[in-house]
Every structure is written in C-alpha cells, then in structure tokens.
C-alpha cells in the first residue's frame, strides 16, 4: 500500500486551480484526476508493476482507457467520465498526506498574483522611415529606415514584418524600388544595392559613380533602373538576371537630380531638380521639356525650390511636390502648368499615386498626408480633375515617404512609425484588417532573458546591453509597488565591431553565454559573473559554419547553441568550458529556403522548432538530429512560438491572431487547438492589431500559456471554457468585483491584463515573477528631433 501513499485525488476546478477535495458527492465530475505514483521512488520492475496495476485498476473501474491527453502532465491521469462508484473505489485506497496537500494548494491558488518587474530602461529608439516601395503583385511593402535597415511588410497578412535586413553605419538609403520581386535601394554613399530577400541580407552593392544618389526608380517593364545623382546625371541601369549593369547617362544637368519618375510606357522620364523639372526622352537621352518651379514668395524667394517628388501619369500629366508647399500638375505635351494646389506652408516631401491613377497622396513635413482624387466635377461627365479631398494627420514629424496601396495609404517619416490609414471608400467589409494601424516596434524580439540568473540582454542596432534585474522585499497587495531592495544594474555594454548592425542576439538561460550575429560575423562570449565582478571572454575559434545567423537560440540547459542559417537550416554547436564545437546541421526535408525568423527549443532538450518567412514550421529531433515533422502550413506568418515544457506541444501564434497547439509526439493538432479552431476566437482577440511576440509557459500550472503583444499581456488557461462572441472578453474588472464562487461561472480562458503599455517583451522567470519591458511611446517622442514649428491657435 505504500505505493499509493502519494496517490492523490484532485479535482480541477473551473477556476483553473487544482485543489484537493474530500471525495464526497461532488466528485462526480468529468475532470476528476488521479496522480500517478512518484516514479522516482520506484525501481524499474516496480514501475512495470505499477503500470500493470494501473491497467488492472482501469478494468476494475470499467474505464475504456486512461485519458492521458486531457492533462499535459504525464504524471497525471484523468479518469475521463468516471462515475461516482469508480471514484469511490479509488478513494478508499488512497491515503492522505495533508501537509503536502496544503502546501501545493497554497502554491497553486496563488497563481492569480504575479510579481512584475516593470522595466523601462531599454532605450530602444526606432529609426525614422526614409523610403517606401509597394509591390502590387506580391502585396509587400518595403520600408527603408534612416539607419539603413530595410524591412518587408506583408500587406495582406496584417502588415506583419516578414523580413528585416539590418542596416550599417553611414549607409543613408534615399530610395527603394522593386523590380519584379527584386528589391533595390540607393543611397548617399553613391551605391546601388540589391537585396537577397530569401536570406535577408545585402546581395551586392555597385557604385554608380555619380556621387550621392538621391532617388532610384524602376520602370514598369522591369527592364531598367534609373538613378538620380548629385552630379546632375540620370543614370540608366539595365536589370539583368543576376546583376544590374550600367547602360548610359541621360543628358547631364547642372544641378542634382532629386526625384525621378518613369512614364508608364517607359519611354520618358520626369526628373525633379532644384527649381525645375526636366522631362527626358529615354531613347535619345535628350531633354524634351524644362519646366520651372516657382520659388516661394517673400523672404523665401532667395531659397531654391526643391522638387522633392515627381509622379508621371500615363495620360502625360506630371505631378510634382516641392519645398514651397505646392503640388503642381504639368502637361508634358506643352510643358505648361495645368494647376497648382497649395498644400502646406512647408515642404511637400513625398507623392504617391494609386495603381489606377485616380488617387494621389502627398506627405508634407508638417506630418499631414493630403489626398487628391481624380474625379469629374459634374456628375456623370467625363472631364475629370484632380481635387484635394482628404487630409490625414497621423504623424508628428516630417513624412518622408507615402505609398498608396490597394485599400490604404501608408506613410512613414521621422517619427519612425509606419501608419496604415485605410481608405474606407475602398473597403467593402469592415474588419480588423481595415482599421487604422500604427506600427511602432519591430515584430521581432529585441530582448532576451537569462531566466535562471535574472539577466536581460537588450539588442540595439550597434551594441548590446546586459542588465541584472533588481530585487524586492516584502509582500504587496495587488496593484501596489514593492520596495526595491536592489536596483537593476547594467552589467555590460558590448559594442559591435565593424559597420554592420546586429541582426540577432541571445543570452543563454544560465546567463553564461552571450551570442550575437551581424550580416557578416557571429560572435560568442563567455560571461563570468562572480558577485560584482563581471568578466567576458570572446570565444575565438568558432566553427566555420557559424559565420552568420538569421536567428540564434540556446538550449534550455545552455549546453547547445542553435544558429539559423541559409537554406532554412539550423546549425548546432555544443558549448563547454573549453569552447564551442560544431555538432551538426538540421535541414528540412523539403520546402522553401526562406530565412528562419523564429527558433524554439524544448525544455527537455529533445526538440527544436523553426519557423521561416514562408510560414513553414519544421520540428527537429535533437537526439537523432533529423527532421521530425512539419506543421501543416497556415496562411498567416508565425509571430511567436514555444514548446510546452511538460507536454512537448508546440504553441504557435500567427499574424492573423489565430493560435495553434501542435503535439510534437503525436504529430497532430491537440484537441484544445481543434476546439479553438472549431469554436473560433473571440472577435476582440482577432481584432487586435499587433502580433503576439512571445509564448511562455508556466511550469507551476501546465494549463497556462502566457502571451503578449504591444498592448497587453494575456494568460490563456486551457482548462477554462473559451469565450464566445457574446461573453465579455475583457472581463478582469468584472471578475475582480465578484466573489470567488461567482468568478467560476464568469471566467473564461483569456485573462487579459492591460495594465502595461507599449510592451517590447514579457518573460516569465522561474520564481513566477514576470518581467515586462516597456518602451513608452511618449519617451520615444521626447527623444525625436523637434518637429517643424507650427503656429498653433492661441500659442
């Protein structure tokens, strides 16, 4: 009977708290669970016996089979729909151990309360947006930032940031252009760069030999690129299969070429310059027309008028935006001004026309976007005119780039936010996808956490910072702040060698290793931390394959490093005191070669999951170093994933806010996941507009999954019923006002905490405390350069 001394009878209550019960009538509950004996006390043969015993018991009770799947903890069995009689039998055989029971109970019922480290010392500064390029065919939006990084957003997948190509010092991108599915940029360093979007890196850079390049644009035919240079030349490059080649210069002008636009036919080019606009015949290279842009009146007459942006329409209209604040329409036949609109007192910096040329948006340095539409002045008549229609004010600073996509206006500028403003007249169904969207933070994690040692690693473009969390003293009531016994401490600042910016970084769970990778190098450091002495040693002889990584991850016991590399492969290196040794490479059996952006290792060191930008999730068995299986490909990108420590189920969050739980061992979606898909998620959950960026599990409570996005922190209790559209979704306040008993009937699986704002990262520490890294947008705003001074009423 000693075998059953630790046999326990539990009941999963609706509240998600497991409590001991006394085995009375209310045990007739479908979720009655039994704890299997503690295996560690048993010899192997005893174990065998115990399995036999369980089998015998099952038959005695008359149960078809133990329902292991219901509980994620393998130490538990669930008696399915065991009736009262069966439970009775069990109960008589159980001996109680009150003390242990109450202890566990305390721990579990305290689950509702969390100690939270609110961290605001990560001074992340998003970089201003310099250029936008929209690819209609693939629905991708390329964004170039001031720091030289290029990002690709998927417009029809909730603007998920699919790809990030980190920038480098002194890169200064001025223009972006798609040619088919290839992406080119040009900048003030005088080079034209093509990007390898599959591996998310620069493919090559060639010099245009014309001084700084102000603009780059490809023709619609996809055959040529034109760049406008400081020396006054418009240079044509032929786009070949794997490279681009200089073809010729158009007639050289006296002043720099600021902006360019191809006529859709590809036969003419309009170029915006200082004080004038030139129209070139591409064939001959000669200028056809020269149109003079007026300087501003009064004192600004002495200042040159910069034609910041030009758009050439297929009907021969040339539209320009200039530093005087005018949007002007010109006729390319006669070279005359048709109409001019005074949009602003300061500069019109960017113009973009819609695909069907019936709408034009202009971004100004005041931070407003003005829309013009090509509409007929008299109903049902055909003589159309460009009319100023709408004004959008979503920016505080200069708008450097605008793009009109199918159903929205996308704008970006110095305030570093990408604003997607839907055009409601083009939207048929109102949905989450048609809401105003502001993207502030990257959709990647910039923070990694050494959970076992309380260290945080912050990734800046050019350096890394390692912080130790503070400590608190005493207990507090919910909502209160605790006394900080020890302040957080910056242990380390690691500056990157070379000009490349950091692509990814990680700190090992034990806190002993730091790794980062740029486009060209990967560096691994050993960190020694005895009391207050921090020392760091660079691991010098790294295996050759570890030259660069798209994503980095340590195993949970910090013994291995996983480095996602080209061709969707993952290299494994073992770490020891002596150094780093290459172990093997994991390759997917098939599928695309897109770069991996997410890695997740299981707690037991057995599994590794990788997700790439083609939405593929591969699972590898680390013991055999073979591909185990591939999760069915879902239509939306994976934004976060994690492997459950107890059940080894892979939990995935997607950009469209759907969630899936996939059992690695059974190679199928779990019942819970199927239930979620069948019942559907709550409207409010699906309508959130920022992706979930981290998936965590609570080892103390296997049914809890912790998620976060930019605005909230959510604990999903898988043992609770899912909310339907009629239930109140954000019900924390309601629940707070109810009694314990009432809460049971009111609570649902999604426990959303909106206390925190502008969240960059949330981590769960082993001591059940949460780390929430916030970066308040107000703080970012205060660090931005001052916007253009505007006269405001009564100031």
């Amino acid at each position: 009977m000693q075998l059953f001394s630790s046999l326990w009878l539990w009941k999963l209550s609706c509240k998600g708290i497991i409590r001991t019960t006394t085995g009375q009538r209310h045990l007739k509950h479908t979720h009655t669970c039994f704890r299997k004996p503690q295996h560690k006390h048993l010899q192997r043969d005893q174990l065998q016996n115990s399995e036999d015993y369980w089998e015998r018991r099952r038959r005695t009770i008359g149960l078809k089979e133990w329902d292991h799947a219901r509980l994620s903890d393998p130490d538990w069995v669930c008696a399915g729909s065991a009736g009262l009689d069966a439970v009775g039998i069990w109960f008589r055989e159980c001996t109680h151990d009150r003390e242990e029971g109450t202890q566990s109970e305390d721990l579990r019922s305290a689950m509702g309360e969390f100690k939270v480290h609110r961290v605001r010392f990560f001074d992340y500064m998003p970089s201003g947006i310099r250029a936008l390029a929209f690819n209609q065919d693939t629905e991708r939006m390329a964004v170039a930032r001031m720091d030289g990084s290029v990002e690709v957003f998927h417009c029809s997948d909730r603007f998920f940031q699919e790809k990030i190509i980190p920038g480098r010092e002194q890169c200064g991108i001025e223009g972006l252009s798609w040619v088919g599915e290839r992406l080119f940029s040009a900048g003030l360093n005088g080079g034209i760069t093509e990007y390898d979007l599959t591996n998310q890196k620069v493919k090559y850079t060639i010099d245009a030999y014309g001084g700084p390049i102000w603009t780059i644009t490809g023709n619609q035919q996809g055959t040529h690129l034109a760049v406008g240079c400081e020396d006054g030349t418009v240079k044509l490059f032929e786009v070949n299969e794997d490279q681009i080649q200089f073809e010729r210069n158009l007639d050289r002008q006296k002043s720099r070429i600021i902006s360019l636009s191809w006529h859709p036919s590809g036969s003419k080019i309009a170029a915006g310059m200082m004080d004038m606009i030139q129209v070139f015949n591409v064939e001959t290279g000669h200028s056809i027309h020269r149109m003079l842009a007026d300087r501003g009146a009064g004192t600004s007459r002495s200042k040159e008028c910069v034609v910041w942006s030009v758009v050439y329409l297929s009907d021969g209209t040339i539209i320009t935006g200039d530093s005087v604040g005018m949007v002007k329409l010109w006729d390319d036949q006669t070279g005359t001004l048709i109409k001019s609109h005074n949009v602003t007192k300061c500069d019109v910096l960017a113009l973009s026309v819609s695909q069907n040329e019936d709408s034009l948006v202009a971004g100004t340095s005041e931070g407003i976007v003005v829309q013009f539409q090509f509409v007929s002045m008299v109903l049902e008549k055909d003589d159309k005119e460009w009319v100023r229609t709408r004004t959008f004010r979503n920016h505080t600073h200069d708008i450097r780039a605008v793009a009109e996509i199918t159903t929205a206006v996308v704008s970006g500028g110095m305030d570093a936010q990408l604003v997607v403003r839907p055009l409601l007249d083009k939207i048929e169904v109102r949905s989450a996808a048609s809401a105003l969207r502001k993207i502030h933070f990257p959709h990647r994690r910039l923070v990694s956490c050494a959970r076992k040692s309380g260290l945080m690693l912050f990734q800046y473009p050019g350096h890394l910072e390692l912080w130790r969390l503070g400590e608190s003293e005493g207990k507090g009531t919910p909502g209160s702040s605790l006394f900080v016994k020890r302040n957080p401490e910056k242990l380390l600042q690691l500056k990157v060698k070379g000009e490349d910016h950091i692509r990814c970084s990680a700190v090992s769970p034990c806190g002993g290793w730091i790794v980062y990778s740029t486009a060209s190098t990967l560096r691994l450091y050993r960190l020694h931390c005895d009391n207050n002495n921090i020392s760091i040693t660079k691991i010098s002889k790294l295996p050759k394959v570890l030259s660069s990584a798209n994503q980095l991850c340590f195993s949970s016991d910090s013994s291995h490093l996983f480095s996602a590399s080209a061709q969707s492969s993952v290299h494994i290196a073992s770490l020891s005191q002596s150094g780093c040794k290459f172990v093997g490479t994991l390759k997917p059996k098939s599928g695309s070669h897109q770069a991996i952006h997410l890695l997740a290792a299981s707690e037991d060191g057995k599994w590794l999951a990788s997700a790439n930008s083609d939405h593929e999730v591969h699972i590898y068995n680390l013991q055999t170093q073979k591909a185990h299986c591939t999760v069915p490909v879902y239509s939306s990108a994976v934004t976060a994933m994690g492997i459950h420590p107890a059940t080894n189920c892979l939990f995935m969050m997607h950009a469209d806010q759907q969630m899936f739980e996939y059992s690695i061992e059974q190679k199928q979606y779990t019942d819970w996941s199927r239930t979620v898909q069948r019942k559907g998620l709550h409207r409010f959950w699906v309508e959130r507009d920022t992706p979930c960026l981290n998936v965590m599990f609570n080892p103390q409570n296997p049914s809890h999954v912790i998620l976060h996005d930019m605005y909230m922190l959510c604990i999903i209790d898988q043992s609770l019923p899912l909310p339907d559209d009629k239930t109140q979704f954000y019900n924390q306040l309601t629940l707070k006002s109810l009694t314990e008993e009432q809460r049971k009937s009111q609570s649902h699986a999604f426990k959303v905490c909106k206390t925190f704002k502008d969240i960059l990262c949330v981590e769960l520490m082993p001591d059940q405390s949460l780390v929430v890294v916030e970066r308040p947008l107000e703080d970012i705003a205060t660090q931005l350069p001052a916007p253009i001074k505007q006269k405001k009423f009564a100031t």
């Binding site: 939270v116 480290h117 605001r120 010392f121 009531t477 919910p478 426990k751």
Partner: protein, 697 residues
Amino acid sequence: MATLYEGYTLCGVGPVQNSSNIGILGVEQGRDIDYVLVTDSSRSITVYKVSDQKPTGSWSVKQGQIISCPAVFNTQSQEYVVVTDDRVVRVWKEDDVNLEKAFKATVSADVLRVLSATDSEPVVLFCCGAVRFLDSLLASPQQPIEDVLTEDEIIRWSTIVKAEHQLVVLFSTEQRGEHCLYVQRFNPNTLVKHRIETEPGLSAPISFSATCRGSNIHLLYLYLNGSVYESVLPFRSSSTGAEGVQALSCSLCLSLPLGEEKLMSGAAVVLDEAHVAVIGFPHPSAGACKDYLCIWNTHFQTLQASKEMAGRIYSQLWCYSGKLYVPHGKMLSVIPFDCQKSSLAAAMGKLKQTSRSGKDFSVEIWNICPNVKSALTVDQLVEHIKTSAVEDVQAEVGEFIRRAPQADLQLAAGRVALELVSRSQTDANFYPQCAFLQLLETRYLCYSVCPELLSLAMVKKDFHLCQIAFQIFSDIPEAVTCACLKAILSTPDLEMETVNLDTDSVIFMKELTQAHSRSDEEGGQLNGFCPPALESDVSDTPSNKLQRDPLSLDMSCPVGLHKGALLNEVLQTAYSDRSLLPHLKDLTVPQVIVFLQYLRFLYFKYSHDAHKQIRALRTPSISQIIDWVCLLLDAHFTVLAVAPEAKRLVFDLHKFVRSQVKLYAELGKIEGSLQVLKNSKQSEDFGMYAIQVIELF
C-alpha cells in the same frame, strides 16, 4: 410612419358595362416592376409603363367575346395569358399585334383565373376548384378537369403566393353562408380545406390579402363590420391533406372605425408586416365620407396615412412594388407609398420626423375588448354613460376599473374616457371628475387617447384634474401646454387657493417659500455663497450699495402656492422648443411678466438654497427652469425690452445671471486644475524600474 405620396392617373376607366359594376378586371404585374397589365372589362388589355404613365401595348378581343379573367404575364416564357369566354386560353407575345392571331386553346371546363407569380409557371384555376399548371394544360387542352368543389360552392377570391421556389394557390369559397379556404400546394400536390371561423354574426369576408413572411403565409381578411382578421398558414403543409376540413384559426388584428352609413364594400391589402391599406372605410376624423384610402398600422392600431379619393370607389385595390393601384371615379390612380418600420414612438407621432404633414396624421387607439369579465362590458358601460346620472356613472366607472382585467382595461379606458368627455361636452351639468381621476390613475390614458379631456378640464377650471393629467400624460402638444399655462396664469390667485391640489406639490411650494423667509431671518447666506461683487453696479451707484446689497434680490414668491404648484407641473412637461415658441407668444404681457417673475423666483431660490434638499416627488429641475426662461425671453424679447414694468425684472435677472456666469467661470478654472491633478495621479510615473504586483482572475 407610413406615407402616401402624391398619386397620378395611370389610365381612365371605361364605362361600366358588365353586371358586376366593375370597370377594371384586374391589375397584374408586367414584365418588370415598372410595368403593369391592366385588364378592363371592356374587352381590352393594356400594358403600362408606370413611371411614364404611358401604355406600351394594347390588345383587345373581338366584339362578342368577353375577357373572363385578368390577363397575366408569364415571366418564364415572356408571354401574356388571358382567358376569354371562360374557356378559351389565349397566349401571345409582346410583339403580337392581333390577339385573334395569337395562340389559343379551348379547355374543357370554365376557367376562373390564371394566376402567375414571378419566375414560375402560371397556374390555371378552374371554377370547379381544380388547378393545373398552364403548360401541362396547354399540352392537352381537352383533358378532363375534376370537380373539387361541391355544386353550389363558389370561389370568391383566389391568389397565388410564392416563396422559396414553392407555389401555393389559395382560394376562398362560399357555400350557403359558410366560408372555406382552400390551400393548394404543389410537389406534392395537396389540397387542404380550412373552414374560416369567426365570431358568429359576421357576414362574408369582403376582401382578402395574402403575403408570405418567413415560412408562413399570412392571410388577412376584412369584414364589412370593419374587423380585419389574420390567419397564419404554414408554407409547407405538414398534414397529408386528406384529413377533411380543418378549422382555420384567426385573430383579430385591426378593427376599423365605422361611420354611420351602411357599408357595402371595401378592400384591404397588406403592405408589410405592420401596415395594411384599406379603401372603402371611413376616415375616423373625416366624418361619414368613405372615399378614403388609409394606411393603418396593425401593431399599434393607428392610422398612419390617408388620402381622399375623388369619385366613386370600386373597392378594388392592388399593390405592386411600393405602389397602390386604386380605381376610382373614371380613372385608375397610382399612389406610391412608403412604410417605415413601425415603432411605438412613430405610431404615437413622437418620433422625430424630418418631413411630416400633420394633417395626414391622426392617432386613434381602438378599443378591442372582446370579453370583459366585469359586471358591465365596455359597451354596456358606454351606453350607461350616455344616459345615466353623474353619480351613477362615477360609481360604475369605478366599479369597472376595479374589476376589469388589466389588459382589457388598457383598451377600454380610452373608450370610456372619450365617451365621458363627449357627454360632458354636450351636457353642461355632467362632469364626473371622480371618474376622470380614476381613469387617469389607471395610467392607461394618454393625451392622444382622449385629447378633449384636458381642454374640458380647462373649461371646467378643474385644475386638480389638469395637474394629474400633466403628471401622467407625456404627450401633451405644445399648443395645449401653452393654453393651460395661459389659463393658469390668468386665473386669480384667490380662486386658485380654493382648488384642491396634489398635496406633495403644495408642500413643496410651501417649503420653498418658507425656506425663503427662514433664510431671511438667518440673515442670508448659509453656505458662504457669495456671488462676485457686481462691479458695474458698485461703480455706477456707490450710494446705493448699502441699500441694494447684491444679495437682497427680490425673493418673494410672485404667485400663490397653488398657482406655483401648477406652474411647476407645466415646467416639467415634455416639449420641443421649436413647437412651443410660437404658442408661447400668445401670452399677454402681464402673464409673461408674472411667469418670468415666478421663474426668476425659482431660479434664485434654487441657486441660493442649493444646499437644501426639499423632499418632493416631482420638482422642476434647474435646467428646466432655465430652459423656460430662455424660451420666454426668446418669445417675448421685444415686449420685455419695451414694457416699463418688465425693466426692473429683467435688470435683476441679468444681474444675477451675470454673477452666476462669473461664478461658473471660476468653477471652470477649478475644474481644470482638478482635472490636471487627476490626470497627473493617473499616470503614476515610476521612473525606469519598479516591481509591482498584479492580479489576474
């Protein structure tokens, strides 16, 4: 609200030849919603384009032939179908010129009608009750036709209903005074016979109208006594059909008011789930003239719109795609209509409408009380009211109210009140105040149920009744409110004090006036209320400063307690200022001044004694008072500017309002500061790092 728009004439109606006195055999839907097919009894069939009011095609039969049923358009084959001389089916196309040359087939039994629904094969209904699809009939025209009906059973009315691709033919028959409804369903063919059961004593239904809503057919039928009954039939038959006659349950959904004249005919057609158009019944407020087309709301039993029809009415009415087709006089008129979704507010005329012609609108609550279980039925009571003495009537009404069930009382109260009022109006000695009060106490009356009641009370100077009515009625028109206000203001205080009023309101007035004297004794402000010094005053007349302390405002009540109590009731009525303003102008100058004085008194009182809570059930709120002050100033601006006796009053009011404005400006500043404090507290800034505790449930 439903609206009948201006109609127009589609065509003339030829001289009546046949025995049935009907000029038009039928109006049917043409090839699309803008076309109708008019079959007149003088041998011709004409297609009209309705929006152009122009015929686009016309065919006629030879002399000696008779068109025996309305022509229909077969939308499937784009052909017209008509039956001449009872047995000859003629089918022709739009471009056929001569009907004689068109296809014809002679069938073996008399055809009653050809019925056609859009996008389905027309159905031929024979006089004997048999039903055939047109194509199957034309395939073998001489096929034997079985007798469905017994020999002396005549079809009175028939229609076809289509929904969910399912056709149902309905026809009603009459046999020795018994009325039956047959429901013919297809696929499988089933014929179900229902007996129409209504209350005994009713004659034949004179008009039917069937619509399909959801999975049910709603059949509406109109009786000569003005009752409109509704029956609901399931669209798909559940029974096998061979079970014999089923009783057809029906419910009374409307009972139209009858005039004095005996009605001979009428017609009703369902417009939507709540509206029904009726012709041939008298307008409830237009006397005996019955040539009205009315739209009634069956949910709320209200008349929604009406239109007078010139000339003789034929009791024919068709409705296609938002237009009513009414033959009257020598023409066929098309009247577009619009039925908005009915709500109680709309039915009671209280919904805000952008355009609404007041004339078309009259509210009438009908009293349907089939079985009153009290000692007296409503009808009996009404009869008694007409003749009995005041005391008896009061006793009977009291008894009736006590014993009648709630639901019945709701319907009966209005009728009884109407009857009482009409007797009181004719008989000067008859004024059952108790009965009125009791009726009001039921709270089933509202102004529109019995509009005369309030004016009667005014005439009789029964201010108690007025007060109760003001408390209970929520729909008093602004004109009446003003008339009452005028009556109250013009009644001398002495006379008013004798009136027995609601004690609660009088106590309130007492407290209000006493509070004034008490606070006077205590020497003014208690709560430190101090309107900012009135600088202009001070600077202008420094010598007056001592005598005219800013606080020594005139705080005496300008009217008696009872008058005040009544005025309070007026202040609390609901009104719309735009409608009120013109009526407010009717007040005479002394009335305006007294009223304004009283409002000023209330305003001062409220402002001064803000700390005092006078417990009363109904008190005018400060915003109500100020609204009325504004209205009064708007309405009588010139009078107040010119009248010398108003000068002092306006001056005082201005002075006080100005001080209040200053006070509130200061309060605004305080509010701003407090807001900042509140905001700053919310954004608890913890700097760069904090360890907090959160709780999730």
